[in-house]
């Protein structure tokens, strides 16, 4: 029995799971940072309009 597909499958799936778990919070941080920047811009613009 050739064991290569089982070894490659285990390491391949394991790598995908761990890579996704590592990258997903970074993608979330990028989105949140973008949202906060937009919020700051809106507040600054409304502040300028009031003055």
């Amino acid at each position: 029995m050739d064991h290569t597909p089982f070894i490659a499958g285990a390491y391949g799936i394991g790598t995908v799971i761990l890579l996704w778990t590592a990258l997903s919070p970074l993608l979330r941080k990028k989105k949140i940072t973008k949202d906060i920047r937009r919020l700051i811009e809106i507040e600054e613009r409304s502040g300028d309009a009031n003055t």
Binding site: H3, G9, Y11, L18, W20, T21, A22, K29, I32, R37
Partner: protein
């Protein structure tokens, strides 16, 4: 006179207690945790490179299992980490429930997705190791089933947290579930002793030594240390992101975003 002195002299605080109090501040924690993350990733990558090189190019094939035993270098460290991750989550959960520290609540909740990933990796790698070794991908034996229950517990903690809108209430409910679920840990560990399982018994114990040859053991130990650094880096990254998310409108978050940290 001595009473007057006692009132006017401020109480002396232990440096460690002061540091723990400081860590409770979201802004301080965010910066403090951020310093460790790149080092943790670097150590993880170096150890994984060494461990994987030895596992694939130095260690000989097993005389009974052949090449398939190389799955052990993913399966076993991931399995240990899946259990240790739950212990860390339960300890944070206990601290969060007793002392109600928000950072610790966030740390407890941030353990769940990382622990779930390691549990999923353990089950999948184990299943792919089982096919050439046992002739089947899955059996409902005590070790495999209790590890699957661990995955459901992690998913339960994530689901419960997301089901409640108010973050602090959600965290407390999830921490309670994490604590109750800790009863599964001794079941996983002793399952191969308490029941007659297809899964093999422990080859390594802290007190009883190892039945694995040292040439095969070292890469396993290196990989098991590597995944601890992965867990640490991922946990701190998730905790920082969750803090940003919860404190969206607070000044310290805006300062950080403005500075691009």
């Amino acid at each position: 006179m001595s009473n007057e002195k006692a009132i006017t002299t401020p109480p002396r605080k232990n440096a460690l207690v002061l540091f723990i109090h400081k860590l409770g501040s979201p802004a301080y924690f965010y910066t403090f945790a951020g310093r460790f993350i790149p080092w943790f990733w670097a150590i993880f990558l170096v150890l994984t490179a060494i461990g994987m090189y030895q596992a694939f190019f130095v260690v000989p094939a097993d005389y009974q299992q052949g090449q398939s035993f190389r799955i052990m270098y993913l399966h076993v460290p991931a399995a240990w980490m899946s259990m240790l991750g739950y212990i860390v989550m339960a300890v944070f959960g206990f601290i969060a429930l007793v002392w109600r520290i928000r950072i610790v609540e966030i740390l407890a909740i941030s353990c769940a997705p990382v622990g779930a990933a390691f549990t999923a990796a353990t089950l999948i790698a184990g299943s792919l190791w089982g096919r050439p070794t046992w002739g089947t991908y899955w059996v409902w034996d005590a070790r495999l089933t209790s590890e699957l229950v661990l995955l459901f517990l992690y998913l339960g903690v994530i689901g419960l947290y997301n089901a409640i809108d108010e973050p602090r209430k959600a965290a407390r409910a999830a921490c309670l579930l994490a604590l109750v679920g800790a009863v599964n840990l001794p079941i996983i560990h002793y399952s191969v002793k308490w029941w007659n399982t297809l899964h093999q018994g422990s080859s390594i114990s802290l007190l009883g030594g190892s039945s694995i040859d040292s040439s095969m053991l070292w890469p396993l130990l290196i990989m098991s240390i590597a995944v601890k650094f992965y867990f640490g880096a991922n946990l701190l990254t998730r905790a920082r992101v969750r803090l940003l998310e919860q404190d969206l409108r607070k000044g310290w978050v805006r300062d950080i975003v403005r500075e691009g940290r």
